[in-house]
Amino acid sequence: MKGVVYTTRNWRLYLALTLVVAVSEAIGPKKFQLGPGFILLLPIVYALILGFALHPRQIKFLRREDLAIIPRVTMLGIGLLAARIGTSLGPNLKLLLDLSLPLVVQEFGHFLGTVILGLPVAVLLGIGREAIGACFSVGREGAVALIGEKFGLQSPEGRGVLAQYFFGTLFGAIYFAFLAGWVDSLKIFHPLSLAMACGVGSASMMAASAGTLIASHPEMKEEITAVSGAANALTLMTGLYFTVFISLPLAQLLYSFLDRLRRKRQEVEERQ
């Protein structure tokens, strides 16, 4: 009973969350045009904004003690999400078996896409070795641990991965949701390809992005959940090996190469 007593202390947080959830769901999905495609706003976006507004800095209701249990609540929420994903995967095992080859191959896309797109942009922006830490992976817990071990978190690479982890935690889910929705509205990709792309190795990022796809393709909702869930699990399980043997070495190599180019260009400019 002790656990129950302690738990009820944070009633303010529960009330706040209930309000956030009820209002967000009541508003419901809304579509906005952006260029050739659409941005889909979902209850999860409103929830993020409302949650932000309810912080003690903005509104005097929640207290420090309430904020302290948020990590636990988040973890439990992700547990429920994972359970729901499993229950979508189960009935769709045959679909996943049929898609096993694309599922495996697209993992390479996850781990190479970050480096190939991210590093050149980072180097162009003038970022140093932080780029290696920031661009070799999406930068979840595993990546932070890896960089911490190899370079130390005080190093430039360490700063890079921490920044990436930081932004990912704050914006990751929402950005992926927008990205998935917008790319989907372009109608270039099959929804299940995008569903696979949503499995980036983070439950909340996967939920937000897959959720956006589901909102646009409700008839495929179980398949999308199953496929993204499988891709996400694959990324989580193979992440360590992919990043250690492929992404990180590639990031280091590419950075050295791009950095050399950048220096040569600087030398040329200085001479002129």
């Binding site: 209850p43 949650g51 547990g79 896309g109 990912g168 704050l170 992926f176 995008l194």
Partner: protein
């Protein structure tokens, strides 16, 4: 084992909050989705227990949770005809809403830190996300076309 049991009250409260959101989202009564939610709670707790009991820690706990979810709803599971319709009443997105609400509060806590990181790193993080998404989407689409699979 102890910590799993200690989370039960909090999990129950969170599930209730999610249930309310779910009923608003699906315009139905919370009672309808309650059995499904209880099933999900059970799976979450069961998976968490498995994680604490098994010695190999290389696999994150949520993988155990989803594995358990798969096991009980797979075609070969005797429970699946019972459980699948129950959990179908619980909207996947409705479970994500409270999680994102919490994330919003956390975001406000970190707002100062965010400004220190600088705009460049913020931009890079967006590019990295885009890269991982598109890289995967392109390869998936390619393979889907090559195997000419159209589900």
């Amino acid at each position: 084992m102890k910590t799993t049991l200690q989370s039960v009250p909090l999990l129950a409260i969170l599930s209730l909050i999610a249930l309310i959101g779910n009923s608003v989202a699906s315009r139905s009564l919370p009672l309808e989705a309650t059995p499904g939610m209880l099933v999900l709670m059970g799976i979450a707790l069961g998976g968490s227990l498995l994680f604490t009991l098994l010695p190999f820690k290389g696999i994150p706990a949520i993988v155990y949770v989803s594995l358990l979810g798969i096991l009980v709803t797979a075609p070969f599971s005797p429970l699946s005809p019972l459980l699948v319709p129950l959990v179908a009443k619980v909207n996947f997105l409705a479970l994500a809403t409270p999680v994102l609400g919490c994330a919003g509060i956390s975001l406000a806590s970190e707002a100062e830190q965010m400004k220190k990181q600088g705009f460049k790193m913020f931009l890079v993080s967006l590019i990295v996300f885009t890269g991982t998404f598109l890289g995967s989407a392109v390869l998936a689409e390619l393979l889907l076309n090559l195997t000419s699979y159209r589900p």
